[in-house]
Symmetry: D2
Subunit: 364 residues, 4 copies
């Protein structure tokens, strides 16, 4: 197994950063689902580099997917979908030194251990953040399908370094979820956003990078989705989310902060509201026992600082079996968390769609 | 799918808290592995309730597994293993009220949504922490097999509320990993442990509960284990760990703290040490690109405060469609994190064994 | 992976013939399904040995399943079901010689190759036909659930040696499917059945055994079940059916006979009948492109002759690395095909239930 | 789930007959495996239509795969492989009538039931035999890898209608397995082959088609591969083989013929030969208890007659809910069995490679 996830909806990513093309296959996509390619393009633009004032890498990606199968006349046709993005803007010479000197905190070293010299690690190979583009193609389609079912997924940059955005309110609206990610800088509080941007620029000027966190929410999910104990929503979401390069932590609801609380603080009291059961807080993140409870599904992920920094770093020469120094050239994002926001949405949407296709077969 | 996990090693948990028995099946366990039943018993004792001075529930569990298959004369025989623990000390009357009034932050409500009135939720049903006993039976066996391969797994209570233990050193020894969990109170720093115990007792006296975190480490793992992007070590460990009741967050290496750092702080420089490549820090937690890098594998999990607290809580009456108050009687742990320490080890050991059985098939 | 199958409904078999117990787990069973234990008992009796006039082995099996979980007050409770059958009537001494001299066409030799001396192969170990008892427990439950949905599964002995029963008619009725398997000798044509029985008795008197085929049908299935190309009904049924010990062939509809026909003979013409599309023949066995077409699902399986025969046979002594002769003592069925009839129904019912739980998610 | 199979090696097929392209992804392929593209091309040519004297359809397929990922400089690089074959020679107008009048014994009708009008069924859509081309790309690579490990897979046309080829000898040689499939007409006995060809031409002249069977063998497999009960070699091979369009039966070793035999005839006696255990016959087809026994692996599959025949056929008009007549135009193979020979090899090679990657983890 490898670069695939999902049960009834199987999503597989292929390609290397500097290979001929990257792409995605989706098996199990329902038929008759219109895909708005303009909307999909806007979604893909959200993770596109080349952006504003040095916040992201200057590398140009066009990222226009070509659909080889599964989509006819803009509508899914029930058969496996394959979308391909050609690679073009490649500077493989930038990476020649790295075959011998693994970049700290990249997969260069583990790739060498696992596949010997055979792994095509130019530009990060299959581990490159570029591979999140096809993931967003798949996730963007899933988002459109979910929206037609009244399920809305949205994420925002919750922190950069020590700078924090607000948290989602108890009941994020559809408009909030749909709009925050589409901002030039995807935060709830723009003032906090300015501080984050300043920090990113400062970090870049120091030839360094910085990490961040992303908060994602989903509303409109049917209650009762997810299976105990190892096929719950948390298990399935986490299993897929950790496929995002640089993602090192996942927490649901109050998560790690909840571990510092008392039960009386962290419990979500139930109440009747206009004849419906609701909860007065949502520290559970919409999931109890792995099963959706009808409250908004809320989780956060931790993105590590971009390991590629312009500062000189200590490494080793594998050929000479000796300590070495490495300076990474080329163009790199000083903060990958920012561009990972739509990727988190994409992965979440795919997992949620998969779970919804499976349905609540608690009774038959 | 449901209460199972694993690829080549498939672990499945069955049973309800107040049903006839609980148990575990393991498919794919290699043959010829001796199981030291005394050592297994000591491991199971670590999650056993009934402990010291009110720190854990007074409910008695004997938890002696009976092996129905797969283990002959104390040695695995290659065929599926089934171990059963009879249920005996049940007070189902304690739970009669709860069918109508779901306990906040328990799975009562989602179980009602999913399975209607059919779910056997006495004592928490299949969601009960009691189900971690068979998980520990399986994990205890995995730990013994791993140890024979030079792989050692150990965990400690890293925090209770705001009280924090030390972190594992850069290179935890086998002895450290094996001994910390076996302490009466599984912490590295006993002084910190006393503060944690005081906090647990205080919380209990306030009819409340408190959350905590657990840090787990594994050494001796071969490098090169794990597949990109969605079958990496992080994906597989997280997918299984979120099956532990009350677990709401998983982070590897520096995790969420790493998201606050600069790349120059969070990157792990490589260095040659006696002819071997090593890293001078381990913020990656021993995993790069989802693949083990030969450094200790380190992760932390967040456990929520026990949702069962003795304080009165707001809930609803499902039958009357009205707000209601609930006071939970019975015996409950004021802090489940403490008892979850061996459970985290168990799940980690099972995932690691599964991955090792799969091996590094990077080349063939 | 190993002794498990299924997607949303996962069925796992455990146990060795002469171990403490055998059993089955089912994950993903819907809640609220009543299980008629008397009906289940009658179903289990159909594969029970000890029967009529030497047709089956005299070994006594009581095969009364004990439900450890998942079934409360006779109704499924949504959680994993575990049913256990204790082993009792064991004559392990009968098998002492076999550890050294593998029985021809048994799994003794391959078990020795795979698990060394560790495999518990007493009585055939996990490969014994006895393991079909828990499979029938699971399948008997599935049959009851399916029947409530209007889906009926039934099988008959289609041939023993050269003696052949009739084939199912184009549209087998519910009554036919339910009644044929319950006959003392499960055939459509009792005259053919008598010839088969004579052949079995003759074979036994010659210290030999004989093979047979089983035809299985299912009616009432929704159309549109099954996924292309590798998750179709044929793929899923075959994958599970080959788990039945001694089963060496599976064919759907006209199967191997169809390979001898012309297209004009083997094609199933469509026709309108009272406003519904139907087919005038069913050489496809109710499956086109892996997907159910609304016609009865029909398949046949080939069961090899019981490998345990009373005649002396050539084998080898593994310890002496020399040719050897072996005479198998003990009690064995001269024709396992007869007892496999309910087992085929059981496996088919489980696969069909799994597929129905998955549903037709062609559109969403 | 859907058009994918495999455990550690996951093979997924995508594309529609008249869509933009068809292709295959392989996840889990080991790195460092050279792919001889000329040899692969010769293998692909074996299933290519356009052949000799009316035996196969005149439709031209070039079937030159383009490798988008996973293969760099002719060597696998450890990352997911994606190969694409562009579609070009399409006559979609030929199929306009068929949307309303489902072709008997095609998937037209079940596709309409499952995906409504959304399925892109031009040219048979995803169910077209054309989809076996990418399967052969994957299988051809697997065959090359296996050959380097000393495992050889080969198949021949075992029968067409009533005309039968010889069977493989007890110990097929590497040369036999490699050469028979490469013949213009892939049979062991060329005289039988001429009779088969005459039959195919005669059938075609009668505007009809005819079915056939294929026998496949593999030598050099390690003993001990395969897991009980539902992950054995038979389960895994059958699950994948039924993905081949038109395949309706699978039997191992003596299969259905074995069901007519006595145990004394069908049992494979063991014997010592130059210090090694061997069997004097191979009615088991190299598999006992689902596990390879070191003898050649032998199985046969049944291919139905091409459902597309030039004769007028009865069907229905879905729009008019009335009986209708249909005459299928276009170019079709009078016997698909002939072209399926390399496809069977391809699927078998992929399953065997998957199983070999998994290895024999009977002991650890």
């Amino acid at each position: 197994m490898s670069s695939e996830f999902g049960h009834l909806l199987r999503v597989g990513v292929f390609g290397q950063s500097h290979g001929k093309a990257i792409g995605v296959t989706i098996h199990g996509l329902p038929a008759g689902e219109a895909v708005d390619l303009e909307e999909l393009g806007r979604f893909l633009d959200r993770r596109r580099p080349g952006g504003r004032g040095g916040l992201t890498t200057a590398r140009k990606e066009t990222d226009v997917p070509e659909f080889l199968s599964g989509l006819e006349n803009g509508v899914t046709c029930g058969f496996p979908l394959c979308a391909v993005i050609q690679n073009s803007d490649q500077h493989s010479k930038d990476y020649s030194e790295l075959a011998d000197k693994p970049r700290p905190s990249h997969a260069d070293y583990t790739a060498a251990l696992k596949w010997g010299g055979y792994a095509d690690m130019r530009g990060g190979g299959h581990f490159s953040g570029r591979l999140t583009a096809p993931l967003c193609v798949a996730g963007g389609i899933a988002k459109q399908i979910l929206a037609r079912k009244g399920v809305y997924v949205g994420a925002h940059l919750a922190s950069v370094g020590e700078e924090e955005d607000e948290r989602f309110p108890l009941h994020p609206t559809r408009e909030l979820l749909e709009s925050v990610g589409e901002k030039d800088f995807p935060v709830l509080n723009d003032e906090a956003g300015r501080r984050m941007q300043d920090l990113i620029l400062k970090t870049r000027s120091e030839l360094d990078s910085v990490g961040g966190t992303i908060e994602c929410g989903a509303i409109g999910l049917p209650a009762g989705l997810g299976e105990p104990m190892f096929d719950g929503m948390e298990n399935r979401l986490a299993a897929a989310l950790f496929g995002i390069p640089g993602l090192k932590g996942v927490e649901f609801g109050s998560g790690f902060a909840g571990s510092r609380l008392r039960g009386s603080e962290n419990n979500d009291a139930f109440a009747m509201e206009e004849g419906w059961v609701t909860a007065l807080s949502n520290w559970a993140g919409g999931i109890l026992g792995g099963i959706t409870d009808g409250m908004p599904l809320i989780f956060r992920v931790a993105m590590k600082p971009t390991p590629s920094i312009a500062k000189a770093q200590k490494t080793v020469s594998l050929s000479q079996r000796a300590d070495a120094e490495l300076t990474i050239h080329g163009r790199h994002d000083p903060c990958i968390a920012q561009r990972a926001v739509p990727v988190v949405e994409a992965v979440a949407a795919l997992v949620l769609l998969d779970t919804m296709l499976e349905g609540n077969h608690g009774t038959f």
